[in-house]
């Protein structure tokens, strides 16, 4: 039986839609359901999911501004629960509104919001990508800096925003900026870390998170952590945000060390920025993943680091005026974890060959891309990178592979895997029927914005997978890199416990995890 409802001209953001969809899906007797805005792509998705029969008459009238709810259910009892859940969802909004007597109304634009909050200094923008530039320009014209969480924003629009921001002397963090810590306030996906003297400017969100967490772990602290969006250091954008942030940080009293972190950066742009960095009185640590030679100018206080962990270590040492740690090598890890490596390797059967990584954080994907080729062959990658094999079907792995589940292909119309682990869980369940795998490599992000108990959801799946392999006389090695601090809401120790109880190996460095996966996988 089917229950369908169209609410005209009702906009709900994607998280509210997901929540309602999840709530409806969990009702006993409900077999399938969909909640979405009536855009052509969503209608297509619904069709694919079998939620639309062609006789659906509602379809003709539905517009992209209408909210569409459709529920398939098998027991008559379910109907009243469905209706109640839907009613509560929409009525909650009304009761959350102020009482009859209070005639304060929520502003509908950034401009009117600023009239209500004249002290406003930052616009946090997470509207769907195609609308984002409109809001950003309004914010910038009002003298606000921008944190743009939205992705799917065009390059031209990014350039326009950042050009305008230069004129108005404000900062644009983004688009597709997942993380920042400004004035001690965590924005987007971010962790609770000690305040201190190290600032970071990074083009990758999860990389920024790992750097912050590692600094905290090593006893250092963070002054400002600025995300710039992944394209800032392209030749087209020219590092506008990087440069401006560097400029400001070089004058900020609290900052003593500045880490510059990125991948896929244009050589000329980096050169310009590093030249500028060399002129500041602050100490600079560069971490440009994928750049051929280390970017440094030691005489002028610019030090290069080989990865997020190393960058954190170097910056902590600099902030304490200690001697700089050596770049980590595979030998250190091999020695450190010799017993673990041997134990894992000894249990594989001859058929087992492959290493597969499923990341929620794009930076860890990049990290793995740097390390895997030294140990493994024929690596498929999604999204595709030059020099690697193409993953023909992103939903199905082949051979050795690295999959970034945070990529648009997977997140389109869905919540990001850091927020909602279910997509990765489904993928893992499928993978664990492939007995040619040796190692599965995963990341777990903790902190604000992340799922409240990712380890709790992951652990049973890891256990089940290991059991399946054992029954077949094989062994599934699982390595998990957990990124977080003991101050994060998820309780780091508990998360680590839950994972390690399954027999998976838990680490707190993406580089070490990738390396370990290769050492175990290629032995």
């Amino acid at each position: 039986m089917n229950y369908s409802l169209v609410k005209e001209n009702t906009y709900n953001d994607s998280m509210k839609l997901m929540k309602l969809q999840n709530d409806l899906g969990s009702i006993e007797g409900v077999t399938n359901c969909g909640v979405a805005m009536g855009t052509p792509e969503n209608i297509k998705q619904f069709r694919k999911a079998g939620l639309i029969s062609d006789e659906s008459s509602d379809l003709e009238k539905i517009s992209p501004n209408d909210l569409w709810i459709t529920v398939e259910y098998s027991t008559t009892d379910a109907l009243s629960v469905i209706e109640e859940k839907i009613e509560n969802h929409f009525n909650r909004k009304i009761s959350e509104d102020k009482s009859e007597d209070d005639v304060e109304f929520t502003p509908k634009t950034i401009a009117s919001a600023v009239r209500r909050l004249p002290s406003a200094n930052l616009a946090f923008i997470s509207v769907p990508g195609r609308y984002a530039v409109i809001e950003a320009i309004e914010a910038i014209n009002k003298g606000l800096s921008v944190f743009m969480f939205s992705d799917n924003v065009s390059l031209e629009e990014e350039i326009k925003m950042k050009t305008l921001a230069e004129k108005r002397k404000v900062l644009v963090m983004g688009p597709d900026c997942g993380t920042a810590i400004i004035a001690g306030a965590p924005l987007g996906f971010s962790n609770v870390v000690r305040r201190g003297k190290i600032s970071i400017i990074a083009a990758s969100g999860t990389g920024l998170q790992e750097i912050c967490c590692t600094i905290h772990k090593m006893g250092g602290g963070v002054a400002q952590a600025i995300g710039t969006g992944g394209r800032d250091l392209s030749s087209e954008v020219g590092g506008k945000t990087f440069s401006r942030a560097l400029e400001a940080l070089s004058q900020e009293d609290d900052t003593e060390v500045i880490i510059l972190a990125s991948k896929h950066a244009d050589g000329d742009v980096i050169e310009r920025i590093v030249r500028r960095a060399a002129k500041t009185k602050k100490k600079i640590v560069t971490c440009f993943i994928g750049s051929e030679k280390p970017v440094e100018d030691i005489e002028n206080g610019v030090f290069s680091a080989s990865g997020f962990e190393h960058a954190a270590a170097v910056s902590v040492a600099l902030s304490k005026s200690e001697s700089l740690p050596e770049p980590p090598t595979k030998h250190t890890l091999q020695i450190e974890m010799r017993h673990t490596i041997d134990a894992e390797v000894g249990r594989f059967s001859k058929q087992q060959k492959y290493v597969r990584a499923f990341f929620t954080g794009g930076s860890f994907s990049d990290q793995a891309l740097q390390i895997f080729p030294d140990y493994l062959e024929s690596i498929s990658v999604y999204p595709h990178q030059d020099g690697f094999l193409k993953l023909v079907d992103p939903d199905a792995s082949q051979g050795n592979c690295i999959v970034d589940l945070g990529d648009d292909y997977f997140t389109h119309g869905r919540l990001h895997p850091i927020i909602d682990p279910s997509q990765r869980m489904d993928r893992l369940k499928r993978e664990m029927n492939d007995f040619s795998i040796r190692v599965i490599l995963l990341d777990v992000m903790l902190g604000y914005g992340a799922h409240p108990d990712p380890a709790g959801l992951l652990a049973p799946i890891i256990l089940e997978g290991k059991k399946k392999f054992e029954e077949k006389g094989q062994y599934l090695s699982v390595i998990v890199n957990i990124c977080g601090t003991e101050k994060d809401v998820q309780n780091l120790d508990e998360q680590k416990e839950k994972i390690s109880r399954t027999g998976a190996i838990v680490l707190d460095s993406s580089r070490k995890a990738a390396l370990l996966a290769c050492l175990i996988g290629s032995a």
Binding site: S119, S126, V133, E135, A139, V170, Q224, E247
Partner: protein, 58 residues
């Protein structure tokens, strides 16, 4: 002339939140200043012209 970015770094942050309200719930718990905007998208037919006009002088 006052540097807006330096002032931003100094804090406190005073944020206009437009898009997904929940993303900044944690800040409200930390007594941060967040004003949520009741945003609705403009009609898709008007997107192009809105963008053209707003980016015209940049």
């Amino acid at each position: 002339m006052e540097d807006k970015i330096l002032k931003l770094f100094e804090g406190p942050l005073s944020i206009v939140n437009i898009g997904v309200d929940e993303l900044l719930d944690h800040l409200s718990e930390l007594n941060g200043e967040v004003l949520n905007v009741d945003w609705k998208p403009p009609s898709d037919d008007n997107l192009e012209i809105l963008k053209k006009v707003l980016t015209a002088n940049i």
